[in-house]
Symmetry: C2
Subunit: 329 residues, 2 copies
DNA sequence: TTGTAGGCGTTATCAG
DNA sequence: CTGATAACGCCTACAA
């Protein structure tokens, strides 16, 4: 690997031009004749010369790299929600000519510093931070206090015009209402700790008192969905509709139900949340709330690019959420 | 953002020490007293001083960044196979203190140059390349010719000790055999163009002639799985077992079958490939070939790290594949 | 243990 | 349009 790359000086000498000319030809900046530019580009290919990025980033103070920070549980389960956001982020980043560096942040590791560092040390031009953990808060603080452009992806809350948000409360309300409309009376909610808004919206939509809704608060994986079902089957066999805080939970729940010959949706109507791509191909296909993750990701990059070009964002962006009715409820 | 960060000189001056001392304190290299190191670290936190990465990478010629190149179809469908590999890559990269930069490469874009550039311009210390496209071939050539450490993830083939491989042919053979053992007689194969080995293994395992197996060659998405089923239902309603080239196809196929009241596995035994996390939670749970993607990703990084530390790899690494029998076949 | 000083490869500025 | 040259911020011999 210590193939000692040729540098601009040597390369320029080789062609009998100045380093400045080489730089201009290859960077596309500054006045230069088409002819020499073409010549130099051709020669660069021939000799395999490329400007050393580090030198160039150093000089220009531009990293051309965006950071994507997302919460990651320490499990082998992929987080499909994040995956789909990342799909959009990626696509938009490429379109904007930016590189993407990804930072899964796990609360259990307990240490934001590596991430904070990357924000502070100049390696990132901007950051996209998916909210949802204590750490994301710290990151946002770091980005904020250092004036680094950043976008937060998260459910609606007080902070910041930089946010790209979705309205979990409304989504859950939609589900609650729907359950009410189809005449379900004994609702449950299966989810994690962090979804207060979903819980509230759900209860509102159901038009019931909070005490009349069963809350099973646990994790967010297939596995939790399954165990939630098993628990509920014993404790509350009368439950006739369930909102799961995400599609993965819903799938775990349904899978467990089917294996006990509980019919979905006849016996229990089950709704998910997120509308991951898989949702429509599950069997039964998932009734769920679409958060339009890919769009969420795309929009975040677009907004970040605006920030980078000096624009000021006047208000957070809200991406709509929709209830998608399929087979499971 | 043009908060003009403090630089080492100013910072050193502020503390009344030399830049060298600061550098030593913060980089952890070179002799320095514990006392001054602690002092400087504390002050660095206080003033928010961090070494400019670009300057330091420039100086040391170390990027500390790994690149992950993977084929990406231009669809909104996430590629779960890749996602799970990435999970392992990520985990191992973090463990090794490396940053990860990801490069989805789409054949349709027709342009490897941006990726080649990142390999050639020094921004990457090493690369992990998932084989499977024309472009990955070009990338490998680029990495090879420039002596950049790289690992290829791919199914078994001639090239290179750098590979982390899995044996698609064997996996498919396992499925073929299994179908034969359970007495299925009229097999089909649903998949993409690139899976010659799978096809071959499947036919071998079935112990049939190639002409007696129906091949439906198309894409690799949920959607393709569905249309494959619809096509086969009309053209070959006698088919009683199907190997799909990946789990996503299998899910699309099964979903379509169930919606036509075709029973899985009673009427048609369906096997997938990859054993994505979801496979066990689908309903029916997927019988499939596990490629151990997470491990694949982890191993790749580990091998790359060996390469980076100067070791020479003497032979490619083979990750086992196993037939996982669940409900769909 | 600490300080001094040179140079890494580019790009931008300023002449020509 | 092109060439010479001075930074950019850090690390690392080498000297003290």
């Amino acid at each position: 690997m210590d193939n000692k790359r040729i540098n601009i000086k040597e390369f320029a000498q080789l062609l009998g031009v100045s380093t400045a000319t080489v730089s201009r030809a290859l960077s596309g900046k500054g006045r230069i004749s088409e002819k020499t530019r073409a010549m130099i580009k051709a020669k660069a290919d021939e000799f395999g010369y490329r400007a050393n990025v580090h030198a160039s980033k150093f000089r220009t103070r531009q990293s051309n790299t965006l950071g994507f920070f997302y919460p990651s549980i320490d499990s082998e389960d992929p987080d499909y929600f994040i995956t789909e956001i990342m799909l959009g982020v990626n696509e938009a980043a490429i379109k904007s000519g930016k590189n993407l560096q990804i930072f899964p942040i796990s609360d259990s590791s307990g240490n934001v510093d590596p991430f904070k560092d990357s924000i502070l040390n100049g390696s990132l031009e901007g950051a996209i931070i998916v909210a949802g953990t204590k750490m994301s808060g710290e990151l946002i603080d770091a980005a904020e206090s250092w004036g680094i452009p950043y976008i937060v992806i998260g459910s609606i809350r007080g902070g910041g015009n930089n946010a790209v948000t979705f309205d979990n409360e409304r989504g859950a309300r939609l589900v609650g209402k729907y359950f009410r409309n189809i005449g379900r009376k004994r609702p449950a909610y299966v989810g994690g700790f962090l979804d207060k808004r979903k819980k509230r919206g759900y209860v509102e939509g159901l038009g019931m008192r909070e005490e009349d809704v069963l809350f099973d608060i646990g994790g967010c994986s297939f596995h939790h969905g399954r165990t939630a079902f098993e628990r509920l089957l014993i404790e509350r066999p009368d439950i006739d509709c369930v909102l799961c805080a995400n599609d993965v939970l819903a799938i775990g729940y349904i899978k467990a139900a089917l294996s006990k010959s509980v019919r979905i949706p006849e016996d229990i109507a089950v709704a998910g949340f997120d509308d991951i791509k898989l949702a429509r191909f599950y069997s039964p296909a998932l009734t769920t709330v679409s958060l339009h993750e890919v769009e969420l990701g795309r929009k975040s990059v677009e907004r970040l690019m605006k920030l980078l070009s000096g624009e000021t964002l006047m208000e957070p962006e809200l991406v709509n959420c929709d209830l998608i009715i399929r087979e499971s409820a």
